[in-house]
Symmetry: C2
Subunit: 238 residues, 2 copies
């Protein structure tokens, strides 16, 4: 497997992505964007990119904060994430820059691109889907589902899969309900929500042990199940 740093830009911001793919494969393959959690692009999202490359996808772990910045504590997470959440247009533009970048790669079939995201990255994926991005699939793992710019009718192209912890305080039941109502209202062609019982925030990340965020806890079971559901969707639509 080949991995490379890959620089791209959104307006004046330098973004430092990370690419993983099977360099021995021939021809154009489906591409998958990976959007990082609130901590920034680090080992977790890179490992997911490599897992996707092992499955045959060209995976680009995007940088949403610029210069591959990483938060060192929860205060920095709140600041970095908040700056983008308060300006959804900027957030969308930054996510779109990653999509443009992966679509332009010679080994990628630009008609078969999916996106996944974790925590904050889950919200990014959903914002791109709401924005009508050319994604075949959009998968959120324990992402916040609320938005300042709900999907307009007929706008969403992606098959949407939301994997959420039933006890995640960042995506409580009323937020899940509002999201489902948003999907219905916008006539989204294909969407699913999987709710895992006894599951908190951050369930895919073994580092989530409640130390940084009390409500984030790894669950091997929910991690395995949600990854399997993502794979099934990709096999179906990518």
């Amino acid at each position: 497997m080949e991995t490379q740093d890959i620089d791209y830009r959104a307006e004046a911001v330098n973004l430092g992505g990370y690419l993983a793919f099977d360099e021995t494969a021939a021809g154009r393959r489906p591409g998958v964007l990976v959007f990082h959690e609130g901590l920034g692009l680090g080992e977790f999202a890179m490992a997911r990119a490599r897992m996707l490359a092992e499955l045959g996808y060209v995976a680009l772990a995007a940088d949403m904060f610029g210069d591959r910045r990483q938060a060192r504590n929860l205060q920095e997470v709140v600041k970095l994430v908040g700056d983008l959440r308060n300006e959804p247009e900027k957030l969308r533009a930054r996510g779109s820059a990653a999509l443009t970048t992966i679509a332009a790669l010679p080994q990628v079939d630009a008609n078969r691109i999916g996106a996944i995201g974790f925590c904050f990255g889950g919200s990014v994926v959903l914002e791109l889907a709401r924005d009508g991005a050319d994604l075949k699939a959009a998968v959120s793992f324990h992402g916040v589902l609320a938005t300042r710019m709900p999907a307009a009718s007929g706008k969403v192209k992606a098959s949407v899969l939301v994997c959420t912890g039933a006890d995640d305080p960042l995506a409580p039941p009323e937020q899940v309900k509002a999201f489902e109502d948003e999907m219905r209202g916008a006539g989204v062609r294909d969407w699913q929500v999987i709710s895992y019982g006894n599951t908190l925030h951050g369930f895919t990340n073994p580092a989530a042990d409640g130390s940084m965020m009390r409500s984030a806890l790894y669950s091997a079971q929910a991690d395995r199940r949600s990854w399997a559901s993502m794979r099934s969707l990709f096999e179906e639509v990518l």
Copy 2:
């Protein structure tokens, strides 16, 4: 594959089940109960039993109405289902009789039994789970999730999977929410709810074309996805 009619009893009622298994396999294997829709035990549930047998399970399609009675129209469905719904103890006893029957089969490992059900059968599966039945897995496909006897704390042993249509009027969002609250409240160890967008009642059954019940409509996509999720759960826990 071998298929057989298999008679058993619950109190004074004769129940006419249908067994499917690979007769060339040796040793005890996991068993799966299949509970029929409101129409009664017919070709649909039998076909699912054969599909499970092809996957290596010993499958027993249960008879919940007695003498393998089948409803000819919606009025009969309402009557047959209503009689059992109004007496959840009777419903549970009848479901348990199927469990006792499959557990006693020489080719079945009684410690590895799962149950699935469709529409009315989904409710039966959930009632058995609530009753503390010795099931490793309980899967409801477009079942009604409401109950007169909510699960008591610590009682449920099965891993519960609910596959539901987001637009199913028989399991509307407030009912799904109440079910999730029930699972939380009862401290059910393992439960998941998958909600499929743009999906009505009866989505697994190609015969559901809106003619008998306006709100029942087959969805090849939701059928395929829910069956795959059931298989994943069985591979995990059976």
